[in-house]
Structure formats: structure tokens, C-alpha cells
């Protein structure tokens, strides 16, 4: 219980969680076979990066406001990228009737 | 540490208070709706159960609880069960920063208004999941229409709130009312924003003349077609609580919250909130339903430019002064 009390002030916890999210997102990106599945894993990657940036800025930097600004920009960029990805996925589905990347092999070979 | 001391008793009281507010509001508003509907249609409405029919909602609630909850066999059960919960919980939490008088507030937040806006956005997620989980074309269609409608009016809603934030200089709901104590109520400074805010919240809460989500004569029952019994009532609880929240924000932002001459603060606040609720019910039983594309065109082509212009004008005037 005492150990749990020290957790929110411990940088290592945030770093480990961020890397865990990054690893799980990476696993998802490698092994999911639909475009939307890949998008979901990509968003997980970005969440991990956000936690990392915020944690470093809070613990290691004298000016924590800069970390908040950077994380806000990260949020905005993640949203823009998700919107573009979805536009592409919808267009691909409309033209090929599938979003499974096993079947979208027009550029292969 | 972020917090140095939490008063456990205060937190418990806060949870109890919000639950009571939501529950009593639901009971009262359902009765009020049926009475208003009745009198506008030149009939009486509920009169049997309790004095003047006040306990009608309790009777309805008991009836709904005793109904069997039917799960469609091809429905996605986790999503089916989660959707009403996702519709309901954010509205509960959004009632936390709302002040009912100078001291009657669950918890003071510097970014109270921002939290209310953020949690209001989660309503769309609940509706989409509800439409998806039913495995029913009508439900999905109703849900997509409802979400398109809500998203189309979200931006004018935010652009109507922004001039008030400029005038008050803060996101904290309590400070906004305090700012109106010195100067006049913001409705007099921002009549256009007030009017557009009323239109936007009628849209946001899926009320007539914009109730495409329910659309009783068009889509069976929209996104809650397959829900029966208590889960159906959860959606309605969420909707009425969201109406209460939107009216509370309207009275705080534009009509000065708990400010008023003779009566105590909370009484004024409740009067203003129920004035807005009565207004929404008045709209429902007076106007026919608008067509979907007309409504979307109105939102994107008329409401959005006007609210943007209003915001720019306010910012310009405030910078000049």
C-alpha cells in the first residue's frame, strides 16, 4: 500500500506505461489485417508517445508548460492523421469493397 | 501531490446530491412534459396517480422496471449493454462543476465549462454504439442521422459559448456568474449568441422539431428501437438529464445563474432551468419536424457563419475597448 502511494510521483511508472502502450500498439500494427484495426493500433502508439512527453516534461524539465504545449500539438496532429486515415479507408472500401490488407495487393510484385 | 486534502464526507455528499438532482429532475420533467403536452393539446394530461398526477412518473418507472429486457439474438451484447451507460455517465459527471448558488456547487473547477463541453461530446459515442449494437438497419440509420445532426450543431454551440467566455474571462462556471453580478446579464450583451445557443441545444438533445433520433413516425424508434424496459428508460434518463444540464449552462452563461432580487439563489437557478425546459417542451408540441437535409443545411450554411461572425465581432469590440 505504501508502494502504491509513491507511484504517482515516480517517473519510471509513466515511462513503463508509455512504452507498454507503444509496444502493444506496435504489435497491433504488425498483426492486424484491416485498415481500421491498424488505425486503432496507431492511435495507441500516439497515446504512448503523449504520456512519455508529458512525463518527461513534468519530471525532468524546469518549465512544465512547454510539455503541455507540446502534448497539445501532439493531440492535434493525432486527430488530423486519424481523419486522413479514415478518409483513405472509406475511399478504399468504396472502390475495392474490402479493407482487409490481405486482399488489397494491387501494388504487390 | 495534486490534492492535499479531500474531505470524504464532502465527496459522498456531492455524489448523493447529484444523484438526487438527476433522479428528482427526471421524475418532475416527465410529469411536466406530459402536462404541458396535454394542455397544449387541449386536454388534461395525467391526473390520477398522486396529487395532480405528480407520481405518474413513479408509476411509469415501476412499469418499465417490470418489463422484460429483450436481447436480440444477433446483437452485440457487450456493446448493447454499454451504450446506455456511455450515454448516461458523462452527463452525471458534467453536473459536478455546475453551481446552483454561491456555495452550492459539487466541486469548483477552473475549467468547469470545458469539462461540460468535453463530456457533452461523449453523447454521440453512446448513440453510435447504441445504433451499432442492435444489428438493425433502422437503428444504425437513426443513430447515424442523430450523430450527423449533433455534430453539425456542435460547432455553432461552441462558437456561441466562446463570446461569453471572452466577456467573463474565465472558464469557471462560478466566476462567469460572478462576472454577471457586476455587469448586466450576458443575454443582453450577446442576444444573437443566446438565440443561437437555444437552437443549438434543442438540436443537441434531439428534441423536436429536430428529433430525428426518435422520429416516431419515420424510423420506428431510431437508435433505441431494440431497447426495452429499464435500458430504454436509461436512454430517457440520459436525455432528460442532458436537457437539464444544457438548460443549467444556458442560465449560467446567459441569464446570470443564481442572481435575482428577492428569492434565494437556488430557487432562481431552478426557475431559470425549468423555464428553458418548458421552452424546449413548448417547441416540441408546437413545431412540426424539420427535414434532415434542411436542418443540416441550416446548421452548416447559416448558423455556423453567423456564430463565427458574432464571435469575431465580440473579439473585435472587446479588443477595441
Amino acid at each position: 500500500m505504501e508502494f502504491l502511494h509513491t507511484l504517482p510521483n515516480n517517473l519510471i511508472v509513466y515511462v513503463v506505461v508509455a512504452h507498454l502502450l507503444f509496444g502493444i500498439g506496435l504489435h497491433g500494427m504488425m498483426f492486424r489485417r484491416t485498415l481500421i484495426g491498424i488505425l486503432i493500433s496507431l492511435e495507441l502508439l500516439i497515446q504512448g508517445v503523449g504520456i512519455n512527453v508529458m512525463a518527461f516534461g513534468t519530471f525532468l524539465h524546469v518549465d512544465p508548460l512547454a510539455a503541455r504545449v507540446m502534448t497539445l500539438f501532439l493531440l492535434g496532429i493525432g486527430a488530423a492523421e486519424a481523419a486522413l486515415f479514415l478518409g483513405i479507408a472509406v475511399a478504399v472500401f468504396r472502390n475495392n469493397q474490402t479493407i482487409s490488407i490481405n486482399k488489397l495487393t494491387g501494388l504487390k510484385g | 501531490m495534486i490534492i492535499t486534502q479531500i474531505s470524504i464526507l464532502r465527496t459522498l455528499l456531492m455524489i448523493l446530491g447529484i444523484t438526487l438532482v438527476v433522479g428528482i429532475n427526471a421524475v418532475f420533467v416527465v410529469w411536466l412534459e406530459r402536462k404541458v403536452a396535454g394542455h397544449m393539446q387541449f386536454r388534461l394530461g395525467p391526473t390520477e396517480v398522486g396529487p395532480a398526477g405528480l407520481l405518474q412518473t413513479v408509476a411509469d418507472g415501476l412499469k418499465l422496471v417490470s418489463k422484460q429486457i429483450i436481447f436480440p439474438s444477433s446483437a452485440d451484447t457487450p456493446i448493447f449493454i454499454l451504450a446506455p451507460i456511455i450515454c448516461l455517465i458523462p452527463v452525471f459527471v458534467a453536473l459536478v462543476p455546475v453551481p446552483f448558488s454561491e456555495t452550492l456547487q459539487a466541486h469548483e473547477l477552473d475549467i468547469g465549462l470545458l469539462l461540460v463541453i468535453a463530456l457533452g461530446l461523449l453523447n454521440t459515442l453512446g448513440i453510435l454504439l447504441a445504433g451499432w449494437g442492435c444489428d438493425n438497419k433502422y437503428a444504425l440509420l437513426g443513430a447515424s442521422r442523430a450523430v450527423a445532426q449533433i455534430l453539425a450543431y456542435k460547432i455553432p454551440l461552441l462558437l456561441c459559448i466562446l463570446p461569453v467566455i471572452l466577456l467573463a474571462g474565465t472558464f469557471s462556471l462560478r466566476e462567469i456568474v460572478v462576472a454577471q453580478q457586476e455587469s448586466m446579464w450576458f443575454a443582453l450583451y450577446q442576444p444573437v449568441a443566446f438565440f443561437m445557443y437555444l437552437i443549438a441545444i434543442t438540436m443537441e438533445t434531439n428534441r423536436s422539431p429536430f428529433d430525428f433520433a426518435e422520429a416516431e413516425s419515420e424510423l420506428v424508434a431510431g437508435f433505441h428501437t431494440e431497447y426495452s424496459g429499464m435500458m430504454f428508460s436509461l436512454f430517457f434518463l440520459a436525455e432528460y438529464t442532458y436537457m437539464f444540464l444544457a438548460s443549467a449552462i444556458a442560465s449560467i452563461l446567459f441569464l446570470g445563474g443564481w442572481l435575482g432580487p428577492v428569492l434565494p439563489g437556488p430557487v432562481w437557478m431552478l426557475l431559470k432551468i425549468y423555464f428553458f425546459l418548458f421552452l424546449m417542451m413548448w417547441f416540441r408540441w408546437t413545431f412540426p419536424r424539420v427535414r434532415v437535409d434542411q436542418m443540416l443545411a441550416f446548421g452548416w450554411k447559416i448558423l455556423l457563419p453567423i456564430s463565427l461572425l458574432n464571435f469575431l465581432l465580440t473579439a473585435g469590440v472587446m479588443a477595441a475597448l
Binding site: 504517482p8 500498439g25 492486424r32 481500421i36 519530471f59 493531440l75 | 451499432w132
Partner: protein, 170 residues
């Protein structure tokens, strides 16, 4: 047991449950078969990350995370899901021998980061600071990134709309 002690316990337990929520949501998001369940896992993770931002001393970022990610990006993904839904498409591939790559990369990154961190002192700790200078910073010191991201968002929205309107050339 005093009230303050109980409050600290609740605080610590909330933090621990947030960590559990994040990990459970992430595992749901990559391991489940049906895409809607993965989407739910993503929502759970994002709400957990919002809580983590609150514990790092930034209620503003927590609310922004809920507003931008859960309120907008997740709704957009849900719309995309319903528009590209095809019954019976297998969404998951068994990892196989290549499954060792993500844990390996993650552990390598984590090891190097922890090694680098062991040489630095922790200057600060999570505390709630006044975040109103962020607005002035966005329009003063960070004006260029601010304008660039607004252009980026405009281009992304216009690009998404124009891409979604592409029809197959016959």
C-alpha cells in the same frame, strides 16, 4: 484510520486502477477479433490516459484529451467502422515467429531510456500549476507551430474529404 490516510489510499488506488485500465484497454484493442470490441478498448485506454494526464498535474490536458480524442477522433473512427463494415472479415493474424519483434523493440527502447534516465536528476514532480500562460505561449513563443498546425488541420480535413470522394476511374 484517519480521514486523510483513507483519502491517500483512495488516491493511490485510483491511480493504480487507471494503470490497469490503460493496459486492459490496450490489450483489448489489439487482441480481440471483432473490430467494435477493439474500438471499445481504444476508448477505455484513451479515458485512462486522460486520467493519467490529470495525475501528471494537468487537468487542462485531461479535458482536452477527452474532448479531442474520445469526443472527436473516436466518434470518427466509429463512423469509419460503420461505413467500412464487411461481415466475416478476419481481422487478426496469428503472430508466428515474427511476434518476437515488438517486445524486443519495446524492451530495447525501455532499456535505453531507463539507462539514460538513471544519470539525470528528477527536477520536478507532478503539481497543479496555473495553466493560463499556455494561451499566451501559443500566441507568442509557439506562434509558428500554432499556425503550422492550423494549416495542417485544414489541409488534413480538405484532403480527407477529397480522398473520400475519389471514384474508380472506369
Amino acid at each position: 484510520m484517519s480521514f486523510e490516510r483513507f483519502a491517500l489510499d483512495i488516491y493511490a488506488l485510483t491511480f493504480a486502477s487507471l494503470l490497469v485500465q490503460i493496459v486492459v484497454g490496450a490489450v483489448m484493442a489489439v487482441m480481440l477479433k471483432k473490430l467494435v470490441h477493439c474500438f471499445l478498448g481504444l476508448v477505455i485506454t484513451m479515458v485512462g490516459v486522460a486520467g493519467l494526464y490529470y495525475f501528471l498535474g494537468s487537468p487542462l490536458l485531461a479535458v482536452m484529451q477527452i474532448m479531442i480524442y474520445v469526443g472527436a477522433v473516436c466518434v470518427a473512427i466509429a463512423f469509419g467502422l460503420s461505413l467500412t463494415h464487411k461481415a466475416g472479415e478476419e481481422g487478426l493474424q496469428a503472430p508466428g515467429p515474427r511476434g518476437i519483434v515488438p517486445p524486443f523493440i519495446t524492451l530495447a527502447m525501455l532499456g535505453s531510456v531507463l539507462l539514460g534516465l538513471s544519470r539525470r536528476e528528477w527536477v520536478g514532480y507532478p503539481q497543479k500549476i496555473d495553466e493560463s500562460p499556455i494561451g499566451m505561449m501559443l500566441l507568442g513563443e509557439y506562434l509558428l507551430p500554432f499556425e503550422v498546425i492550423s494549416i495542417l488541420l485544414t489541409v488534413a480535413v480538405i484532403g480527407a474529404i477529397s480522398v473520400a470522394l475519389i471514384k474508380r476511374r472506369r
